[in-house]
C-alpha cells in the first residue's frame, strides 16, 4: 500500500493517480468531514415562494429552543456593519446590477432565497429550529421562462430592470449577416430550447468557518474550485475583513462542474455566524438545498439560422437568444451566454458573416452561471444542429457539408467573425479518424436495411471546437472580467533534492497532484515520488485563479513548467560554477548537469540544491536556495476540437431512445496522462448525454421548481450509459510551453449535439427536423405521430 516509485512517471505516462489511496480507503477529508473544538452548526431558512414580500419574521420560538445559540435575519447582518454583498464579477456595458444581499431583506426572488439563519449546538437542533421560524410572506407572481419574462407586463424580478432585461448584448456584424441571408440559396432555421441543468456534484456544498476575535483572523474551509477568488470576494464584498486576515482552504472537494466556482451567500453566512457566536460554525447543504442554491446551467431560448449558397457553403449565421440569469447575477453569469457563447458561433467553419444577439434575462429562479462547458455547449449545440439542418435542406450528406465548410488546415491562425483567433487545428483529421472507427459507410447501409424492417437507427455527428484555458488576462479584462486569468506556480527544490510544487489551481477530482508532478518529473529529471504538489490553501501559495474553464493544464501546468525552467536556469549557473566551466557549456539531461562531452563529470540537481542551500560556494550575485515562482499569463485561449459520433436506435412503438455507440475523437494537444484525459472525456460525455436524454430542471408557470430533489431530477445512472469509445489526434497548442490544451469540458460541449443529431437522423423518415432536450420517449413518441 505505497506510492508509485517507478521512474517512468513523467509527461505522457498513464501512471495511476497518487490521490486515490486516500480516496478508496475513506481516509480523505472533505469539508463536512472536519470537526473543530467547540464547533456548532448553521442552517439557513429558504423561501418557499418564487416571489414574495416579507412582512415580518418571528424568530422567538426558534430562539427559545434548547441548544439554539442564535437566529438571525438580514437586519442582523446589516446591523453588524459588514458589507453583506454577493457581487457579480463580470460586467457588460449597460448591465443591470441590482443589489444582492446575503439574506433577502424585504423580498424573496426565487425558491431557495435565504431568509434567516440558525446557529445551534448540533445539526439536528439547527434543522429543528428552522421549523420554528414564522415568516409572514406576501406572495406575488413569479416567472421562470426567459423569453416570456421579457414581455410587457411580466412579473418583474427587480424594479430597476424593465422587462427583466439584465443586458442586451451582440457580437458580429448584423448588416453583412443580413445581406448574406438576402443572397442565400438555402436557409436552415431552428427554434431551440437549451434545457436548464442542475450541476449535482456528488459532494454538497459546505463551509466550516473559524473566526478568531483576538487575532481578527478567519480560517474558512470550504467546497471551492478557487480559494483565492472566494477570499477576495469574502473580503471585498461580504465580510469586510482584510484579505490577509482570511485564509480559505479547500480540503478534498467532491466535484464541482462549475457549481463551486461561484461566490454564494451561504459560505459567507457561515463565516459571519462564526463572527457572531465566537465559535467555529459549520454549514452543510442538504442535497435538496443544493437543488435550490447551487447555480444552475444553460436555460436558453434561441432562434438560429444558417444561410447557405448554391454550392452548399455556409455564408451567414444569425442567432437570437434569451438567456436566463435567474433572480440575481451570479459571479461570472454575464460572461457565460456572451463571451463564452457568441464567440463560439463560427464552430469549425469558415463562416464569413455571423451575428449573435443575446438578452440576459432575470427570472424568479435559482441564479444561472457556469456549468461544465459554460456557454460553449449551448453554442456548439446551435451550430451543429444548424449544420445538420443545412445538410437536410440542401440534400448534402452531413459529412460532406462539414468537409465543404471546415476551416482548412493551412488556414491557421484563423480569425473568426466573432473575436476569436483559432491558433491551430486539423478538423478533417479528427473527422476521418472518427468516421473510420465508426464505419460510416457501413452504417448508412445498415441504417437503410433496418428502416426496411421498421427499425429506426440514427447517426449523429458533432464536429466541435471550443475555446478554453481561460485566459489572456488583458483580453478578458477588456471584455468585462473583474479578475485576471493568469496562473501561479512555485517550484521549490529542497536541500535534499526533494521538490514541493505549489499551484494556484484547485483541483476537485482532476488528478492535479499526479499530472502536475509528472510535468515536474520530466522538467527537472527528478523521480516522480520525490515531488509533492500542494493546492487549495490561500495561506500556502501565491494568488491563483483556480480550476474551471478547462484551464488547469494550459495555465497552471504552463506556470509550473515555466517555474521549473527558472529553477533549471539557476541550477545551471551554480553547476557551472561547481564544475568550473562556462555556463553555456553546461548540458542538463535526466536531472544531471555536465560539461558538454564529459557526462562523467556531473552535478545532479540534488547536489546543486544542497550547495544552493549551504551557500558556502555560490557564484557571485547568485542568491541562496533553489526555488522559483512563475505567474503565467497565456497568450491566447487554447482550442481543443474533435469529432463525436453517436448511434441511436429509436423504438417506433415507445419512442424510447437507446444509445448504441458513442465514439469520441478529441484533439486536446499534448497529453500529460492519457488515462486521466480519457477519464475526463468520459465524464464530460456522460454529462452531455445526461443533458440530451435525461436531465432538466422544470419550473412551473409560477416559477416553482418541480424537479427539486434527486428523486425528481434524472442524474444519469450506470445503465443509462454505453461504454465509450475514445481516440485522439494530437495538434499541440502552439503558444504554451507544454503544447497542452484543455479536456475537462470537451465531452459536455460536443455530446448533446451528437446525440440529438442522431435522434433526428433516426426520425428523418417521420419528417422530424428537431426535438428539444432532453429527448424523452414521450417527446419522441409524439414527434413520430
Amino acid at each position: 500500500m505505497a506510492g508509485e516509485s517507478n521512474g517512468a512517471a513523467g509527461f505522457g505516462s498513464s501512471i495511476r493517480r497518487r490521490e486515490d489511496p486516500e480516496l478508496i480507503t475513506g481516509r480523505a477529508k472533505y469539508t463536512d468531514d472536519l470537526k473543530l473544538a467547540g464547533m456548532v452548526y448553521c442552517t439557513i431558512l429558504r423561501s418557499d415562494y418564487a416571489h414574495a414580500g416579507i412582512n415580518s419574521i418571528d424568530t422567538s420560538e426558534a430562539e427559545a429552543l434548547d441548544g439554539v445559540l442564535g437566529v438571525y435575519t438580514a437586519k442582523d447582518i446589516e446591523a453588524s456593519g459588514v458589507p453583506g454583498g454577493v457581487p457579480v464579477g463580470w460586467l457588460l456595458p449597460g448591465l443591470k446590477t441590482p443589489e444582492h444581499f446575503m439574506l433577502a431583506k424585504d423580498t424573496t426572488r426565487y425558491v431557495g432565497d435565504g431568509v434567516a439563519i440558525v446557529v445551534a449546538e448540533d445539526q439536528y437542533t439547527a434543522h429543528d429550529a428552522l421549523e420554528l421560524i414564522y415568516v409572514d410572506y406576501d406572495p406575488r407572481d413569479g416567472i421562470a421562462d426567459p423569453k416570456k419574462a421579457t414581455a410587457d407586463g411580466a412579473p418583474l424580478v427587480h424594479d430597476d430592470a424593465p422587462n427583466n432585461i439584465a443586458f442586451d448584448w451582440e457580437i458580429g456584424d448584423k448588416e453583412s449577416t443580413d445581406a448574406a441571408f438576402a443572397n442565400a440559396a438555402h436557409v436552415a432555421s431552428l427554434d431551440i430550447v437549451n434545457n436548464r441543468l442542475i450541476p449535482n456534484a456528488m459532494e454538497p456544498r459546505a463551509a466550516l468557518a473559524d473566526y478568531n476575535d483576538i487575532t481578527g483572523e478567519l480560517v474558512l474551509y470550504m467546497t471551492t474550485q478557487n480559494p483565492h477568488i472566494h477570499r477576495l470576494l469574502m473580503s471585498l464584498a461580504s465580510l469586510g475583513l482584510p484579505e490577509h486576515k482570511i485564509r480559505v482552504i479547500a480540503p478534498e472537494v467532491g466535484g464541482g462542474f462549475g457549481s463551486k466556482i461561484h461566490h454564494y451567500a451561504d459560505e459567507a453566512i457561515a463565516a459571519w455566524a462564526s463572527m457572531q457566536v465566537g465559535r467555529p460554525v459549520k454549514w452543510t447543504a442538504t442535497r435538496t438545498e443544493t437543488y435550490i442554491t447551487d447555480a444552475h446551467g444553460r436555460d436558453h431560448v434561441t432562434h438560429g439560422e444558417m444561410a447557405i449558397d448554391a454550392d452548399g457553403r455556409f455564408i451567414g449565421l444569425r442567432v437570437d437568444t434569451y438567456a436566463a440569469m435567474g433572480a440575481y447575477l451570479s459571479t461570472f453569469a454575464p460572461a457565460v451566454p456572451t463571451y463564452l457563447y457568441g464567440t463560439l458561433m463560427s464552430g469549425e467553419y469558415d463562416l464569413p458573416a455571423i451575428y449573435c444577439h443575446v438578452y440576459g434575462v432575470f427570472t424568479h429562479t435559482v441564479p444561472v452561471d457556469a456549468y461544465r462547458g459554460a456557454g460553449r455547449p449551448e453554442a456548439t449545440f446551435i451550430v451543429e444542429r444548424l449544420v445538420d439542418e443545412a445538410a437536410r435542406v440542401t440534400g448534402i450528406d452531413p459529412v460532406e457539408i462539414r468537409r465543404r465548410n471546415f476551416v482548412a488546415p493551412d488556414n491557421f491562425p484563423y480569425q473568426t467573425q466573432v473575436a476569436l483567433a483559432y491558433d491551430s487545428g486539423n478538423y478533417e483529421g479528427a473527422l476521418d479518424k472518427a468516421l473510420e472507427a465508426i464505419g460510416y459507410d457501413d452504417f448508412r447501409t445498415e441504417q437503410a436495411a433496418a428502416r426496411e424492417q421498421g427499425k429506426y437507427l440514427g447517426l449523429g455527428l458533432s464536429t466541435y471546437i471550443e475555446a478554453c484555458g481561460l485566459a489572456p488576462s488583458a483580453v478578458v479584462g477588456s471584455l468585462g472580467a473583474q479578475a485576471g486569468q493568469w496562473e501561479s506556480a512555485v517550484v521549490r527544490v529542497h536541500a535534499t533534492g526533494k521538490v514541493t510544487v505549489y499551484s494556484g489551481c484547485s483541483g476537485h477530482g482532476q488528478g492535479h497532484e499526479t499530472t502536475f508532478a509528472q510535468i515536474v518529473a520530466s522538467a527537472l529529471g527528478v523521480p516522480y515520488d520525490d515531488i509533492d504538489v500542494v493546492e487549495g490553501d490561500t495561506g500556502s501559495m501565491p494568488h491563483g485563479w483556480g480550476t474551471y474553464g478547462s484551464r488547469s493544464a494550459a495555465t497552471g501546468g504552463s506556470a509550473i513548467a515555466s517555474a521549473a525552467e527558472k529553477v533549471v536556469d539557476k541550477a545551471r549557473t551554480i553547476a557551472a560554477h561547481l564544475l568550473e566551466a562556462a555556463e553555456e557549456d553546461i548540458e542538463f539531461e535526466d536531472g544531471n548537469f555536465f560539461v558538454k562531452g564529459s557526462p562523467d563529470q556531473s552535478q545532479s540537481l540534488p547536489d546543486v540544491a544542497l550547495q544552493a542551500y549551504l551557500a558556502h560556494n555560490l557564484p557571485k550575485g547568485i542568491e541562496p536556495a533553489l526555488e522559483a515562482t512563475s505567474f503565467y499569463d497565456p497568450a491566447n485561449f487554447v482550442y481543443p476540437f474533435g469529432t463525436h459520433i453517436a448511434i441511436v436506435e429509436v423504438c417506433s412503438q415507445t419512442g424510447n431512445v437507446t444509445l448504441q455507440r458513442y465514439l469520441a475523437v478529441d484533439d486536446v494537444g499534448n497529453v500529460i496522462n492519457p488515462m486521466i484525459v480519457d477519464g475526463q472525456v468520459h465524464g464530460g460525455i456522460a454529462q452531455g448525454i445526461g443533458q440530451s436524454l435525461y436531465e432538466t430542471a422544470v419550473y412551473d408557470d409560477g416559477a416553482n421548481l418541480l424537479s427539486g430533489t434527486m428523486l425528481d431530477y434524472a442524474v444519469p445512472k450506470a445503465h443509462f450509459m454505453p461504454s465509450f469509445e475514445t481516440d485522439r489526434t494530437v495538434t499541440p497548442c502552439p503558444h504554451n510551453p507544454l503544447g497542452v490544451k484543455g479536456v475537462g469540458e470537451a465531452g459536455s460541449i460536443a455530446s448533446p449535439a451528437a446525440v440529438v443529431n442522431a435522434v433526428v437522423d433516426a426520425l428523418s423518415p417521420f419528417g422530424v427536423t428537431h426535438i428539444d432536450m432532453p429527448v424523452t420517449s414521450e417527446k419522441v413518441w409524439n414527434a413520430m405521430k
Binding site: Y30, D32, N200, A201, H508, G509, Q687, M710, S723
Partner: protein, 155 residues
C-alpha cells in the same frame, strides 16, 4: 431520551446512547468518526452512504442507528485488511474514481454485487449499480474496475 445500542463496526465493539431518530450514517460519521461514509443526498438516491450491514449493502442514511442494534457493520475504513480489498485495488488501477466522493459507497456496493453475482456481465454490473450515482466518471471505468475485481477474486 437516549437508547442504548451495541453493535460491531469494522470488527470493534461499539456501545452508544443514541437519539431514536439518529441516522446510522450520522452515528458512523459524527459519533464514531468514520467519515469515509459520505452523505450525498437526502432522498436515498445517491448511495454515497452505502455500508455493509450484516454483510448486505444498505444505504446508511435510510437506516436508524437503533435499527442497527446488534448488527455487524463494515464501512469503507474496514474493507482493507493489511492490503487493499481487490475492489479498492481495481478502482485504483482502472481510474474508477475522480473526485472520490461517491467512491466509498460505490466500492461497497460493488463488493456486494460480486458477493451475489461473482461473474456479472457488463449489463448486470450497470444495473447492479442502479443505487449509486457518480457524476465524474460516466461509469465507464467503474464498470472496468468491477470486471477487473471479478477476475481477481475469481482467479
Amino acid at each position: 431520551m437516549g437508547i442504548s445500542i451495541e453493535l460491531e463496526v469494522n470488527g470493534a465493539s461499539v456501545s452508544e446512547e443514541v437519539e431514536p431518530r439518529l441516522l446510522l450514517a450520522h452515528l458512523l460519521r459524527e459519533e464514531l468518526g468514520l467519515t469515509g461514509t459520505k452523505i450525498g443526498c437526502d432522498t436515498s438516491q445517491c448511495g454515497s452512504c452505502t455500508i455493509l450491514l450484516d454483510g448486505q449493502a444498505v444505504k446508511s442514511c435510510t437506516v436508524l442507528a437503533v435499527q442497527a442494534d446488534g448488527s455487524e457493520i463494515t464501512t469503507i475504513e474496514g474493507l482493507a485488511n493489511g492490503e487493499y480489498h481487490p475492489m479498492q485495488q481495481a478502482f485504483w488501477d482502472n481510474h474508477g474514481l475522480q473526485c472520490g466522493f461517491c467512491t466509498p459507497g460505490m466500492i461497497i456496493s460493488c463488493v456486494d454485487l460480486l458477493s451475489t453475482n461473482p461473474q456479472p456481465s457488463e449489463d448486470e454490473i450497470r444495473h447492479g449499480l442502479e443505487g449509486n450515482l457518480c457524476r465524474c466518471t460516466g461509469y465507464h471505468n467503474i464498470v472496468r474496475a468491477v470486471q477487473t475485481a471479478a477476475e481477481t477474486m475469481n482467479g
